[in-house]
Amino acid sequence: MEHTTLAHHLLLAGLLFAAGLTGVIIRRNLLVVYMCLELMLAAATLALVAFSRFNNTMDGAVLVFFVITVAAAEVAVGLALIVALYRRTGTVSSDQLNTLCD
């Protein structure tokens, strides 16, 4: 990584975050929306590791450790919620989950 600067890593993380947010906005399958949310989290962890490495401190890397832990717990609960929603309504498409709209 002799000529790879912090800017390269931040650019990659920013583009991944933008792609994730775009997916959250345009996708309608709740499971895919959820995966795009996870992509945004992973992009943030990439930026954290890059800052940690380039500033020679360990704290960013430890924070990523906690982010991964929290994300794993969050995925379990979120998927349980989506399954419960599917049992109740029979769909996971955000187009058809408009009960509060009507």
Partner: protein, 175 residues
Amino acid sequence: MPDPLFVFFAALTLGAAGLLVLSRNAVTSAMGMILALVGIAAEFFLLDAYFLGVLQILVYAGAVMVLFLFIIMLLNTDKPETKYPWMKAAGGLAVFLFLSAGVIALILHSGALDKVAGPTPPELSNNPAEFSTAAKAFGRLLYTKYMLPLQMAGLLLLLALVGVVNLSKDAKPNA
């Protein structure tokens, strides 16, 4: 010019993220997500964060994505989404371009452009933990400076476990 390996894995990660966002089949999206997570793990390796890279592959690309694929197949939602309405696709593209332009502008106006890995900056000099590739460095920080967050993470995992069991217990619809 950045490291060719960095460029390769960055392109792989961005391509996989594009597959995740644009594919109309949920299983294809999940495959793109796995590839993107593996690409991010490779970037972790290039940043000398070996422990986090291994953790990323084990926890994310392994456990979490298997859970996602399991739920996708359980719910049988593999019929593709209909085509995006024109307005929505344009809105998504606008959001992506706006965010990307913001990121690029921020990076250009920050000091990150020519920053390479170096010693701890003076404003962080009261922080004794220097970056280390050893998993031991994680252990030392986790059990000293981050003791309370570690306990909270354990409690969070326990609560998630109880919550998930409670959520999936009620099998009766409209109960």
